[in-house]
């Protein structure tokens, strides 16, 4: 079943995420994807995440189609102007890629080429608008296409915005994204059930699908790093202590993920699991949740 069919079916949708590395080595990532292939509806491929130069999202998304995985091609507006973005979208379609996640992208200052020139000519909202135009058979200036894609477009939202202004801005932008054509949302990693419930209540009535983001906690250091550096992600102290006290960190991480998914699965339409190399642990987590 493709991601589009899964979303339309009303089932609880499961997606995961892989991140190409720096270099041409792709075998181990393909193995990671193969392990979860039968258990997920789609696999996102990140686009130079954290502004670190890596192998590209389009190439790896295409490689996923070859092993029978439905990829979600993540596209940021950081590195390409509107010509390159539109061209890459057409190229992706020609390579068998049917889902796009439209993102603004991190600033290059955060990555390993901090002096790189940022582009951001489009942003997540205008990119979704452009995807809609391509889907309708024209480019963003209205020129007709010969051969038209039919992308399923999605976007992200951060339920953990840390003040009222940030939250209002997130929700207004979410509405703009839906108007611009986003059919599904994958959220930033969530660890706070109450905050997520409140968020879902606030967006009640919006015509879209929400897949809650779960980031597997791999260590205490990772939790502390995210709390300090990743906007909108907050790992509560009890989770940090649970990982700290556990002899088997991987088991503790799985237990936390299971509890989070169980707690949120009735609030939303699916889950997006960011395993960060621990893809092999995803099937056991899903078994335990019973999905």
């Amino acid at each position: 079943m493709s991601l589009r069919e899964a979303l339309a079916s009303g089932k609880f949708v499961i997606t995961a995420e892989v991140a190409p590395g720096k270099g041409t080595e792709v075998e181990h990532l393909l193995e990671d994807a193969a392990v979860i292939k039968e258990r997920v509806d789609a696999v996102n491929v990140t686009d130079l995440q954290s502004s670190v130069m890596r192998l590209g999202s389009m190439a790896f998304s295409h490689l996923l189609t070859e092993i029978g995985v439905d990829p979600v091609f993540q596209v940021t507006c950081r590195d390409r102007n509107c010509l390159a973005l539109q061209s890459d979208l057409l190229s992706a379609w020609a390579l068998g890629i049917k889902n796009v996640l439209a993102l603004t992208g991190d600033h290059p200052v955060l990555g390993d080429h901090p002096k790189a020139r940022p582009v951001f000519e489009l942003d997540s909202v205008s990119l979704l608008d452009v995807i809609g135009k391509l889907n309708s058979g024209v480019d963003m200036v209205g020129n007709e296409l010969k051969g038209t894609p039919d992308f399923l477009a999605g976007a992200v939202v951060n339920p953990g915005a840390d003040n009222e202004a940030a939250m209002d801005l997130q929700i207004m932008k979410m509405e703009s994204k839906i108007e611009a054509g986003a059919k599904f949302f994958q959220t930033q990693g969530v660890y706070d059930l109450d905050a997520f419930e409140k968020f879902m209540k606030r967006i009640e009535g919006l015509d879209t699908k929400v897949l809650v983001g779960i980031i597997l906690l791999k260590s205490v250091g990772m939790a502390r790093f995210m709390n300090k550096n990743v906007s909108g992600v907050f790992v509560p102290e009890p989770f940090v202590q649970e990982i700290k006290a556990a002899e088997d960190k991987a088991q503790a991480s799985k237990d936390i993920a299971v509890r989070l998914i169980k707690g949120m699965k009735d609030l939303c339409d699916g889950v997006h699991i960011m395993a960060l190399g621990w893809e092999s642990k995803i099937p056991a987590i899903l078994d335990e949740v019973g999905i």
């Binding site: 603004t104 600033h107 200052v109 940030a166 801005l169 207004m172 932008k173």
Partner: protein, 225 residues
């Protein structure tokens, strides 16, 4: 105004050491307001260069002056005789001033004494902030007078990116998120609905820019470019 910052004295001494008779020329508008290139800074710089020349037995004279704006020929005319008597001019004007001088005096070496930083204003004593990128397509009317093109690190037009933390930009903790500032300003004006417009895409101008006002050009020959 145009915000400038003077280059280091060492760099300027190196730049001017072999250039002969030198005019240090201030610019009394923006550069003066930045306390970088007005008459007082000209006097300080000229005497420092004279001192350096004296110590290195360089006999070439260093003279000084300042005009209202080096970017306007009307004011440049006031110093044309002094410039003509020099081998080089060390200009404390912005890039536009230096280039207008170089265009006016093609036989004289015009050297920049300042780095042109941005269009901005003084935020507090000794602190200047960038406010405008001269993008040529002003959006301030729907962003409550706060420019997202300049003050959002990504120049986003359709709202916040979500990377801010505690109201600060992901690029640096000392930078406020411009979109949160816009949000508060629009809310105060009861104009938050401005954030719900159709997706905006910026029209980027081709550089170098040129503005032509035909109504002012009656009887003038059109420029070549």
């Amino acid at each position: 105004m145009i915000i400038v910052e003077r280059k280091s004295l060492e760099a300027l001494e190196e730049m001017t050491k072999d250039c002969g008779r030198l005019l240090v020329l201030g610019c009394e508008t923006c550069s003066a307001m930045c306390l970088a290139g007005g008459r007082r800074q000209v006097a300080e710089l000229a005497s420092a260069i004279r001192m350096e020349r004296k110590m290195s037995q360089n006999q070439d004279e260093v003279i000084e002056d300042a005009i209202a704006r080096q970017c306007e020929s009307e004011f440049i005319d006031h110093v044309k005789d002094r410039v003509a008597g020099c081998d080089a001019v060390l200009s404390l004007a912005c890039g536009a001033g230096v280039q207008t001088m170089a265009h006016t005096f093609p036989d004289v070496l015009i050297l920049p004494a300042v780095d042109t930083k941005f269009i901005g204003s003084e935020a507090e004593r000794g602190v200047w902030k960038e406010m405008c990128m001269a993008c040529g397509d002003c959006v301030l009317g729907r962003t409550a007078g706060i420019c997202p093109v300049t003050r959002c690190a990504k120049g986003l037009l359709n709202g916040a990116c979500g990377g801010a933390s505690e109201g600060k930009c992901e690029v640096g903790k000392e930078r406020p998120c411009a979109w949160q500032e816009i949000y508060h300003a629009l809310k105060r004006l009861n104009m938050l609905h401005y954030l719900k417009e159709k997706p905006q895409v910026k029209n980027w101008p081709v550089h170098p820019g040129k503005v032509v006002r035909e109504d002012l050009r009656e009887g003038e020959a059109t420029t070549g470019d």
